[in-house]
């Protein structure tokens, strides 16, 4: 090969690089490992992570995933293909993506879906940018975003949209119900508001009055952006049916539909919208068409919105989707079917109810809010949640998420969740452990 190129050693391949800038080697990189050695190391490392029973939710949920899902997803034909630029050689990925879009529109009851974004939080950011482009009646670039929206989503949205003169206006929540303060929203009536964000179920697990807020927003010429757990809308009213005319943009994290917790990713963000907004959508979109013989086939479409054509005028700089994760998700939804998803969602809810009933029966524990909840709930404790959660973790129980940093006004509060995977024994074990922790320390306090 060197001879064909006309050189005698590979060093000549790099002769155009200024020689004084070249390095002699990567001295700080450790020596390579054989597959056997790396396998041993990674097994050790995996075992170092705590294998505790998980009552943590807060945006990522441990669900059962049928064995077929990831076996099929990691087939080389899905795993090692790229963005379907050559449509004829990518009909597998393209058709699957079209099926994904079909499933997401059915689940959300929206008109269209894109082929996915990075995760739920960044999808919310893109939804906000899309609303700003799409709401021609509004000039303010002002977005109402309740504090019941996931704190990490609000932070991410702030990072991503802040360079574009967009104002994110926080709306407080009602301390008793744990839902958006409707009168705080109504105070903005008559103002120029570009969009209102509603998370359902809220970060607290509480159920918002989505119909009222949606109708209010539309009466005030604001678009409605919904953030939902896609599993929950198998049983909860989907965004497309909120109020008289439905949400305008529906987004959220697809993780509960077939993606393992996996330390935080890869998950995917779904993004759906009404027909009117389709040309404002960022990201890949697949359409159904025909070939020269009239045979059905699938292609990437509406590419004129995208960065490789529009460059600095594109709807977004995004040029990938979470292809592999939506592959898993599509197969997951196909295997579970609508009733399987309903069943899982209802089982999560029933388990969380059971958990909340058990825990709130302990002295020193109470529920924080009066609004109905789905699948997740806030509990108040008689001492700092981090102390309690640490003590639970010592007993291999991840008891929940400490709300002190994001919601200091709640006092000692934690967010708990029990998916369909939690057994009655595990829930009872949690109660027993918590009861013991709280009792012991109470006695100390009494002695003191």
């Amino acid at each position: 090969m060197l001879e064909a190129i006309g050189i005698t050693d590979t060093d000549a391949l790099f002769e155009e690089i200024p020689s004084h800038l070249r390095i002699s080697g990567l001295d700080g990189i450790p020596q390579g490992m054989t597959e056997m050695e790396i396998s041993r190391l990674m097994h050790q490392r995996a075992a170092q992570n705590n294998q505790a029973v998980c009552f943590l939710g807060a945006g990522a949920y441990e669900h059962h995933i049928p064995a077929a899902v990831w076996q099929l997803t990691t087939r080389g034909e899905f795993y090692t293909a790229y963005t379907p630029y050559q449509a004829e050689a990518s009909q597998g990925t393209l058709q699957l993506t079209y099926e994904y879009q079909s499933m997401m529109t059915a689940l959300t009851d929206m008109d269209v879906s894109n082929a996915s974004l990075y995760d739920g939080a960044s999808a919310l950011a893109e939804a906000i940018l899309m609303a700003v482009r799409g709401n021609r009646k509004s000039k303010s670039r002002k977005i109402l975003i309740p504090r019941t929206v996931h704190p990490a989503y609000r932070k991410t949205a702030d990072t991503i949209v802040s360079g574009q003169n967009i104002e994110l206006v926080e709306v407080d929540y009602d301390r008793a119900s744990g839902t958006v303060q409707l009168d705080a929203i109504e105070k903005a009536a008559g103002d120029d508001i570009t969009a209102v964000v509603i998370q359902q179920p809220s970060f607290f697990g509480t159920l918002e009055d989505v119909d009222t807020i949606t109708d209010w927003a539309h009466q005030n010429n604001a678009l409605v952006i919904s953030v939902t757990n896609p599993l929950s809308i198998a049983v909860l009213k989907p965004p497309g049916q909120w109020g008289d005319s439905g949400a305008d943009i529906a987004c959220g994290d697809g993780q509960p539909l077939g993606a393992p917790l996996s330390c935080g990713g890869p998950y995917y963000g779904f993004l759906c919208c009404t027909k009117a907004l389709v040309r404002q959508m960022p990201g890949r979109i697949v359409g159904r068409t025909t070939d020269v013989d009239g045979k059905e086939g699938f292609v990437l479409t509406l590419q004129a919105r995208e960065q490789h054509i529009r460059r600095s005028k594109a709807t977004s700089n995004i040029c990938t989707n979470q292809g592999l994760v939506i592959t898993a998700s599509t197969i997951h939804m196909a295997i579970l079917g609508p009733r399987g998803l309903e069943h899982t969602a209802a089982a999560c809810h029933a388990n969380t109810r059971e958990l909340v009933a058990q825990l709130s029966g302990i002295e020193g524990v109470s529920t924080a809010f009066s609004a109905p909840v789905f699948h997740e709930s806030v509990l108040l404790l008689d001492r700092p949640a981090d102390e309690v959660l640490d003590a639970l973790a010592e007993q291999d129980i991840l008891g929940g998420y400490d709300l002190a940093a994001d919601y200091p006004e709640l006092g000692h509060a934690m967010l708990v969740c029990a998916t369909e995977l939690r057994t009655e024994e595990e829930i009872v074990a949690y109660r027993t452990a918590l009861q013991a922790i709280l009792a012991v320390e109470t006695r100390h306090q009494e002695i003191a």
């Binding site: 020596q31 990522a60 330390c263 040029c319």
Partner: protein, 481 residues
């Protein structure tokens, strides 16, 4: 046939979990769904068969030579997937306290360190979930840096006209206007034009090196000096890092901030379009601005850097830890390669590209920049074939599919007419490279003797050429019952 068309009302697989719990009676009726979501109802076997069959309609690295320029379609070792999917990683909740996550965090910390070493940067954050998000973070950090210095007049980002479309799109997302810098015929940036365009309004320059034209930017030091002297910063788009890994480091070239596409250089799967990972590295002066989360070490224990300890950070880009599973795969890949393996990557990637370029030249294909060394990729222009034989780059691409090769990137970079951007990667054996060049030659012969064979290709795939115009005009984006 769509999965929806296999559906029968009421059909379902065996339940995945016990079915005795389903009580929603505590939720007010107006908050519940009244209809059933229109999802397919099929048996598990039907689903498995359907998706297995669909998978077979894909070209992939595991099944075909995939020389898609600028995408670095190298082999994805299976061990990386298997080990990243060990239960101890898969079942870890992202909010698990650091204390119970040492096995994961040490991998992330070492990945940050190895990237610093290989790129010559002072610090790395693994937060960005794709190259485009890496670019976004990079430009956002440049913006934060100028802001911290009360330098508010810098409104422009310079981008060479050969750049990927994400570069200008990113600059716009960060609130900058874009000024394009022309490229010379020899592939280098036009230095005079750069000098004229640079000034107190310049926030920074985004550069891919080697460029998308498949050549190394020889005047990188002059470019760095021009931009730095004007007070701007230098952004490195890591799209083509595979060409220089272990040979020269972006940090040593003078770049202040870079993103790396871990799904290219460090072999995480492309997955039909993602997930990617766009880890960002910075020089010392940009360290305070890196996005979160990051992993730090203290006496052999690892923790995520707290928000209050990074007050100048540009913030979070995702709800949790970016594409953590992708990061694990990149980590495993780097540990398997190690020092010696990593130093060989660019050597073999560049050898393969230059070999193919030499063969192409000998067989009379016109090269975009014939007098230069190729990087890890090179460009053939089919301008002559298009005008004389009326067979376009698109036709060559489609016919290659018939012959069992994924097509190279076509019509990019935009500067070269009728181009094929060919990137073989280091994974391929000589036989694959020769086979591909034979196929190209065969197509050129067919273009002379049987042009219709080429212009109506592909003939052997599940579908023939698809009507993209009608797809965009008569939008059909979801199945309706």
């Amino acid at each position: 046939m769509l999965i929806h068309e296999h559906s029968q009302p009421g059909r379902r697989g065996a339940p995945q979990a016990p079915v005795d719990k389903a009580d929603l009676s505590d939720i007010p009726r107006h908050l519940l769904r009244q209809d059933r979501a229109g999802l397919p109802e099929v048996s598990e076997l039907q689903a498995v068969r359907h998706y297995t069959r669909l998978s077979k309609k894909n070209f992939s690295i595991d099944t075909h030579f995939y020389p898609l320029g600028s995408c670095t379609m190298k082999y994805n070792p299976r061990a990386c997937n298997t080990l990243a999917m060990l239960p101890g990683f898969l079942s870890r909740h992202p909010l698990t306290p650091d204390k119970y996550s040492q096995g994961f965090l040490v991998c992330m910390y070492e990945l940050q360190s190895m990237l610093c070493e290989a790129m010559g940067m002072a610090a790395f954050s693994l937060a960005p979930m794709a190259g485009a998000q890496g670019e976004f973070s990079g430009i956002k950090m440049i913006s934060a840096y100028h802001k911290a210095n009360n330098d508010d007049a810098r409104k422009e980002i310079l981008v060479p006209d050969a750049a990927h479309g994400t570069n200008p799109a990113t600059a716009t997302m960060c609130g900058y206007t874009v000024r394009e810098i022309p490229t010379l015929d020899n592939g280098d940036v036009d230095l005079d034009a750069l000098r004229q365009a640079t000034g107190p309004q310049t926030a920074g320059l985004m550069l891919t090196n080697p460029s998308t034209l498949g050549v190394f930017e020889r005047h990188i030091e002059s470019i760095a000096a021009i931009v730095h002297e004007a007070g701007g910063l230098l952004y490195y788009d890591g799209a083509n890092l595979n060409a220089i890994l272990g040979k020269i480091r972006p940090g040593d070239m003078g770049f202040d901030v870079i993103h790396t596409n871990l799904h290219k250089t460090f072999s995480t799967p492309h997955g039909g379009g993602g997930p990617g990972s766009g880890a960002v590295g910075v020089a010392e002066r940009l360290k305070p601005f890196l996005p979160l989360p990051m992993v730090a070490e203290n006496n052999g224990r690892y923790h995520c850097v707290a928000e209050q300890d990074a007050p100048h950070s540009i913030g979070y880009l995702s709800a949790f830890m970016g594409n953590a599973g992708v990061l694990l795969r990149a980590y495993i890949y780097m540990r398997m390669l190690g020092k010696a393996g990593m130093e060989r990557v660019a050597e073999f990637a560049t050898l393969n590209a230059n070999y193919m370029m030499a063969v192409a030249k000998r067989r009379g294909f016109q090269l975009a920049i014939p007098e230069r060394r190729a990087s890890h990729e090179f460009i053939i222009t089919l301008k002559k074939e298009a005008s004389e034989l009326h067979v376009t780059a698109m036709d060559f691409a489609k016919r290659l599919l018939d012959l069992g090769y994924h097509a190279p990137t076509t019509y990019f970079p935009l500067l070269v007419p009728e181009c094929l951007l060919i990137e073989p990667t280091e994974s391929e054996a000589k036989e694959a490279l020769d086979g591909f060049m034979d196929a190209l030659e065969q197509i050129r012969e067919e273009a002379k003797t049987d042009p219709e064979m080429v212009t109506t290709a592909p003939h052997t795939l599940p579908v023939k050429r698809l009507d993209e115009v009608s797809a965009a005009r008569n939008l059909d984006l979801a199945w309706k019952a």
